[in-house]
Every structure is written in structure tokens, then in C-alpha cells.
């Protein structure tokens, strides 16, 4: 089934006369696991920001479920979740409060209020934090006081708890040790479906630097200077492709 969830049509993004994305065409189909490769400064983060609607492209069209992104309603937009490269957690809130922020979309104002007052239920948040191997002693610690890898996993838990279909992840394995990388990778790419929750996103686009992680992806996209150089099945990837973008 080739059901297109997200589509970029001829996208360009200019910032102060610098062309950061250059005529990008891209389709993300349901169930696809896509790795996004490219050297530092090639435009990976910018591409992800366009995909989740944070950056409005200078030119071109973003389509979500075959509808213009602008016209999509809040419920539809919340089908996308993002793990940011710079995490973008709220530093003054605790880890569990940050994870609970992922539930804001499906809850009302009162939930947000209770979360800030620290009187909401953190049961669900704790479950996802456990999945990310976060120790319970850091649940109520402020983000400022956590280590790099702990922050990384709080951001991942916040993203997973949203239960979105589409995951956009920008180098989500930063700061993680090899064992954690395997755990998190399985969580993100649904290779392990613990307790049959089926909540994890089935479709994922992940910006990567570590090439040894490629084996779990179906497709690979290579980008350089804001341009897509290749968009192929992983099994077709060879050294020539990589030489082009690095």
C-alpha cells in the first residue's frame, strides 16, 4: 500500500539570500522508515522544520494527507511528532512535566494547568520514561539538572507519548551509549512492540550521522547543499552515493 502521508513539492527555502533548501521533492509513504544523510550544514534540520510546519518554505507546497499543510487542522497536524536536534525542552519544568507536554494536544486546558501545578497524573509519562530507560530518580528533576543523554531521552519520551503516526527525528541518538542506542532505535522504529501498545509511529524520517545504524531503514535520502542527491532503497546504497554527499 503506497499511501502518501507527507509530501514536499518543489520546496525552496531562502534565508537572507542564502538558498538553504533547493527545489526539494519528497514523499513519505505510510510505514516507511527513511534515513536522512548529509554532512553538517547540508540542510537536514531545515528540511525537518519544513516537514513539521515550523518553517514556511519560500517556495513550493507541503502536503499532509494530500491536503495543503496550511489547511490541515490541529488534529491532523498532531499526527506528526518531532524530536529536535536541540531537544527544545522547557528547562524550568521537570522531566515528567516535559513528557506530559506531549499529551497536551489530546487534552484540554485543565490538563495543562494540572501539569504545571504538578498535580496531574504522571502514570503514562512514567511508562514512556521507563521505556526510554530513564531512572525514576530523575522523573521530578528539572531539565537543567539532567545529563545530556538523560535530556535526549526525555525529549524522545515526550515525542513517543504523543502517539503520532509520523516521526521526524533529528539525530535522536546523540549523547547515547551503544546499548541505549539499540534500545531507542528499536523504540523509534517499532522493531520491538512491547506489550502490544502499537503506539509507536510506524512511519519515520530520521536524520543520521552514524552510518552503522542504516540497516534498520527501508530508504535512504542523501542531501547536500540543500539539494536531494539521491532517494533510494537502502539495499541499493553503495559507496558512490555516499561519496557524492560527504
Amino acid at each position: 500500500m503506497n499511501n502518501t502521508l507527507l509530501e514536499l513539492k518543489n520546496i525552496s527555502y531562502k534565508y537572507k539570500n542564502n538558498l538553504i533548501l533547493n527545489k526539494i521533492n519528497l514523499k513519505i509513504n505510510s510505514g516507511e522508515k527513511i534515513a536522512l544523510l548529509g554532512k553538517s550544514g547540508s540542510g537536514k534540520t531545515t528540511l525537518i522544520s519544513v516537514l513539521n510546519g515550523t518553517i514556511k518554505p519560500t517556495q513550493g507546497e507541503v502536503k499532509l494527507f494530500n491536503k495543503s499543510f496550511e489547511e490541515s487542522d490541529r488534529k491532523q497536524k498532531s499526527k506528526i511528532t518531532t524530536i529536535w536536534q536541540d531537544l527544545r525542552l522547557i528547562e524550568d519544568l521537570s522531566a515528567e512535566q516535559n513528557v506530559n507536554c506531549g499529551l497536551l494536544a489530546e487534552n484540554n486546558f485543565y490538563f495543562a494547568f494540572k501539569n504545571l501545578l504538578n498535580i496531574s497524573s504522571f502514570k503514562k509519562a512514567h511508562k514512556y520514561m521507563q521505556l526510554c530507560r530513564l531512572h525514576y530518580s530523575i522523573y521530578d528533576k528539572k531539565i537543567r539538572k539532567l545529563s545530556g543523554g538523560q535530556k535526549q531521552r526525555v525529549a524522545i519520551a515526550r515525542s513517543l507519548i504523543q502517539g503520532s503516526n509520523i516521526l521526524l527525528a533529528d539525530e535522536p541518538f546523540n549523547n547515547l551509549d551503544p546499548k541505549l542506542i539499540t534500545t531507542i532505535k528499536n523504540l523509534l522504529l517499532e522493531n520491538v512492540d512491547k506489550n502490544n501498545t502499537k503506539k509507536y509511529p510506524k512511519t519515520a524520517l530520521v536524520a543520521l550521522h552514524k552510518l552503522d545504524l542504516l540497516n534498520d531503514f527501508d530508504k535512504v535520502i542523501g542531501i547536500r547543499d540543500g539539494k536531494i542527491f539521491f532517494n533510494i532503497k537502502r539495499t541499493n546504497l553503495n559507496k558512490l552515493h555516499l561519496d557524492k554527499i560527504y
Partner: protein, 500 residues
């Protein structure tokens, strides 16, 4: 030759140059007629009157002061938060409201803020007569605008990236807003909101000087009748009140994880809003507007108040603000730096406390005992009072600062004063100046009160116009005040952004 380099440290000391013209005018105006009075005033400080009668008066008057001070604080902090949110750009980004409204509400708040609570009080008194609630309303109006500015400023520091990440979660807009502003609001309340209670009490005292109840009225009456011993009883009891209110808040730990406390605060929040609205309605419907009609008819009378006079008064007011600001900025670091030892520090602290404690009109009246009224004298008054406030901030910051550099420099044999300047003060200079920029706004507003008594600037004209019911003149003076404040705010904003 060494060039004088302009940096934060030298900028903190340079404004002391205002003392040259100021000192010149003060010296030419010296007289010794009031020396006896001044002496008596000083001696009475150590010999305040204490008997049953005065204690009962103090208690009654303080009760009024506490009530007006507390309720105006509560109302202004709560509505200040709300207006702070409404005038912060994050609100407009989240709700996608045109920027026009952002500028509109900011402009409106600047105008409201530019008019001193005493002026609001006098205006309201003319319309509604003397009334207990006038004090609360008169303080609340400008304070809401002042508080909203501080809250809005803190909300502007919210990282755009955390906004983007919350926005990407696609939560309901109110949930996103609340989640983003929560911590800045709580922190501003802790760091700034509690301190505002002291300001509210001080403003209540000032309003009292103009006849709106509380201990201020007693202070003024005892000064007028030259009962200095009574005066000091009132001043010392006021001092105790201010110190106590500060201590109580220091003791309360505002812990947002405490459920009962949270619910209590939320209840207070909503009850205050509800009561304010109800009271507002009551106030509107329970006052016959006969007075108001006469006021509006007076708007139409022409005045002999020329443009030239107005410009002169505006200029006077600006000079007055500049001179006072110069003193308020430079005097504290200069004095603290020169007299840098333990005993002098205690004396400076006590002196600064007294300067904060004694209302500016009273300081001015005391200074009048050996100097003829002049612009410089009014400037000195305002400058000294505000130096009392800036020096408190400077002391607090200096004491909480790491002394490593200072000690290292001293151990290198560098003189104590130089080490203090380069090792301690220079690291504070930037934030100190940023605070002084904010303070200068307040000083401009306060020129209204010394103007009324010291017969300079717009404040004096305001008093004249009010007492002769020349409402058109009053409105012109108020517009002039607002214009100065708006221009001042623009300049301050520029200076502030170049400093940080």
C-alpha cells in the same frame, strides 16, 4: 595619553558630573534660617513621642495604610500579570493576532504608567471626593501598568525555540500559552512581585501626604505643625511595617508543588478578579456623576496657558529627571567604593534606608530648611531618595557576588579601592545600569510629586491647574507627562538593548 574609555563601569560614575551645575545652584541658594528646625528634626529621630494616644493613632493609621497598600498590591500584581501577558509578543504569536494590537496596548499602558499615582489620586479625588477606595484605585491604575511592563519583559525572554517545540505538539492554544509562560510568571512574581508590596506601602504613604488617609496624612500633619517628635514616631512605625512586610515574605517559601498552597493562590487570584469587577461596577453605579459633568464642562474653558510656558515646563521636568537620575546612578557606587569598610557600610545602609523610608515631599521640606526652593533642590531630593533604592540593589548584588577576583587583586598588592572597582563593581556595572535605566522611568513619573511642593516643572503646574479647576490645563499637563514618558521609554529601550 590614556583616553577615557567608555564602558559600563565608567558610565556608572560619569553621571555624577550633574553635581557641578547642581552644586552651584544649591550653594548660591543656601540660607541658615532653618538651621534650628533642622537640628530639632535630627534630634527628634532619637526621641520619638511615645504615649497611649499616639500609639492608638499609629495603629489606626497603619491599619489604613496596610489595607490600602495590601489591596492595591494584590490587585495590581494580578491585573499586572494579565496585562503583562496581553502585552507580550508570545501572546500575539500564539493567537495569531495582528501586531497592531500589541503596539496599541503597549502604548496605552505606557500612557497610564506615565501618570504618577498621586496625580491619579488627586484627579479621582476631585471627581469622587475623598474616599477610602480612592487610594486603592489610584495606586492600582499605574501599578498595573508598571507591573505589566515587567512581566511582559520577562515573557519576551522566552526562547523562540521552546515556543516552536510546543507549537509543533499542536496543543490547544491556551494550553501552549500557559505552559510557556508559567515559569517566567512565577519567577517574576517571586523576584519582583513581592518587592512591589513595599512600593505599594510607600505609595500609600505618599498619597496620605495628599490627604488620602493612612499614616502619610499623620506624617504630613505633624510636619506642618512642626511636631518632629510625632513625625518620627510615625516614620519609625512605618519603618517597622516595611521591614516586617519584607521579613514575612522572605519567610514564606513559594513552593508550587504544594497542593494546598497552589489551590489557595488560585482561589485568591480568581476571587480578587471577581471582587475587582464587582467593585468596579459598584463604583460606577454608586457614584452620581454630577462632579464629573462639571469636570467635562470645564474641559471647554480656554486657558491663558501658552505653548511657550508648556515647553518651558517640559524642559524643566526633563532637566529635573536627568539631574536626579545622575545622582541616583552614580552616588551609590561612589560612596560605597570610597568608604569601603565595615563600619561605613553599616552607616551607608542605615542612611540609604532612611532615604527610602522618608517620603520625598518630606525630604524636600527638610532640605528647604537650609536652601531656597529651586530646580536643583528638587533634583537633589529625588536623586537622594532614588539613590537609597539603587544602593539597596547594588548592596544586594555585590554581597551575592563571588569575591574571588577582589581577593586575588588585593593579594597582588593592588589598593583596596581599585580592587573593589575592578574586581567587584565592574562585574555588576552592566546589570546595575540596566536597572537604573528602568529606574529613570520611575524618576520621571516622580517629578510630579516634588514638582507639586518644590514649585518646579509640570508637577507644580498640575497642582496650580487642579486647585483652580482648570481642567483643560490639567489635561495638557498630563499629555505632556505622557509624551515625556513615551519618549523616555523609547530612549531607555534603545540604551537598554545596547547595554545587554
Amino acid at each position: 595619553m590614556n583616553k577615557l574609555k567608555l564602558n559600563y563601569t565608567s558610565l556608572s560614575f560619569l553621571p555624577i558630573l550633574v553635581c557641578i551645575p547642581l552644586g552651584y545652584q544649591l550653594i548660591t541658594n543656601i540660607h541658615f534660617g532653618g538651621f534650628k528646625l533642622f537640628q530639632e528634626f535630627l534630634i527628634s529621630a532619637f526621641n520619638p513621642k511615645i504615649d497611649n494616644e499616639i500609639i492608638i493613632t499609629v495603629i489606626n493609621r497603619l491599619n489604613e495604610t496596610i489595607l490600602i497598600g495590601f489591596f492595591s498590591w494584590l490587585v495590581s500584581i494580578i491585573f499586572g500579570t494579565i496585562f503583562g501577558i496581553l502585552s507580550s509578543n508570545i501572546f500575539y504569536i500564539i493567537f495569531n493576532i495582528p501586531n497592531f494590537f500589541y503596539h496599541l496596548i503597549r502604548f496605552f499602558l505606557t500612557v497610564v504608567r506615565s501618570i504618577h499615582e498621586v496625580v491619579w489620586g488627586i484627579l479621582l479625588m476631585q471627581i469622587y471626593g475623598i474616599n477610602f477606595s480612592i487610594g486603592i484605585i489610584a495606586i492600582s491604575i499605574p501599578y498595573i501598568a508598571v507591573n505589566s511592563k515587567v512581566f511582559a519583559e520577562q515573557l519576551e525572554t522566552i526562547d523562540h525555540k521552546s515556543f516552536e517545540s510546543i507549537n509543533e505538539i499542536n496543543a490547544p492554544k491556551f494550553s501552549s500559552l500557559l505552559t510557556l509562560i508559567w515559569n517566567p510568571i512565577i519567577n517574576t512574581f517571586k523576584n519582583f512581585g513581592l518587592y512591589r508590596l513595599e512600593c505599594s506601602i510607600r505609595s500609600t504613604v505618599i498619597l496620605g501626604l495628599f490627604g488620602i488617609g493612612g499614616i502619610g496624612t499623620s506624617i504630613f500633619l505633624s510636619f506642618q505643625t512642626l511636631n518632629f517628635r510625632d513625625l518620627w514616631t510615625y516614620l519609625w512605625s512605618l519603618a517597622i511595617l516595611i521591614i516586617l512586610s519584607g521579613l514575612i515574605f522572605k519567610k514564606i517559601k513559594f513552593n508550587t508543588t504544594n497542593k494546598i498552597l497552589s489551590i489557595f493562590f488560585i482561589a485568591v487570584f480568581f476571587i480578587t478578579i471577581l471582587f475587582s469587577f464587582l467593585y468596579f461596577l459598584y463604583f460606577i453605579f454608586n457614584n452620581n456623576f454630577d462632579n464629573f459633568n462639571s469636570v467635562s464642562s470645564l474641559f471647554k474653558t480656554s486657558s491663558d496657558f501658552g505653548l511657550f510656558d508648556l515647553l518651558k515646563l517640559i524642559l524643566e521636568t526633563i532637566i529635573l529627571s536627568l539631574l536626579s537620575t545622575g545622582i541616583a546612578i552614580s552616588l551609590p557606587p561612589l560612596v560605597i567604593g570610597i568608604f569601603n569598610n565595615k563600619t561605613s557600610k553599616i552607616f551607608i545602609k542605615i542612611f540609604a534606608f532612611l532615604l527610602r523610608l522618608i517620603p520625598t515631599p518630606v525630604i524636600l521640606l527638610i532640605l528647604l530648611t537650609f536652601n531656597n526652593p529651586s530646580l536643583s533642590l528638587a533634583a537633589l531630593t529625588l536623586g537622594l531618595h532614588n539613590a537609597g533604592i539603587t544602593s539597596k540593589l547594588l548592596f544586594t548584588n555585590l554581597e551575592s557576588q563571588n569575591r574571588r577576583n577582589y581577593i586575588a587583586m588585593k593579594s597582588l598588592g593592588i589598593s583596596k579601592k581599585t580592587s573593589w572597582l575592578l574586581g567587584l563593581f565592574s562585574q555588576q556595572a552592566k546589570s546595575y545600569l540596566a536597572y537604573c535605566a528602568y529606574r529613570s522611568d520611575i524618576i520621571t513619573r516622580e517629578t510630579a510629586i516634588v514638582g507639586v511642593i518644590g514649585s518646579v516643572g509640570l508637577g507644580w503646574q498640575l497642582q496650580e491647574s487642579l486647585s483652580s479647576f482648570a481642567w483643560q490645563e490639567v489635561s495638557i499637563v498630563l499629555i505632556a507627562y505622557s509624551s515625556i514618558a513615551i519618549v523616555g521609554e523609547l530612549i531607555n529601550g534603545k540604551i537598554k538593548s545596547s547595554l545587554t
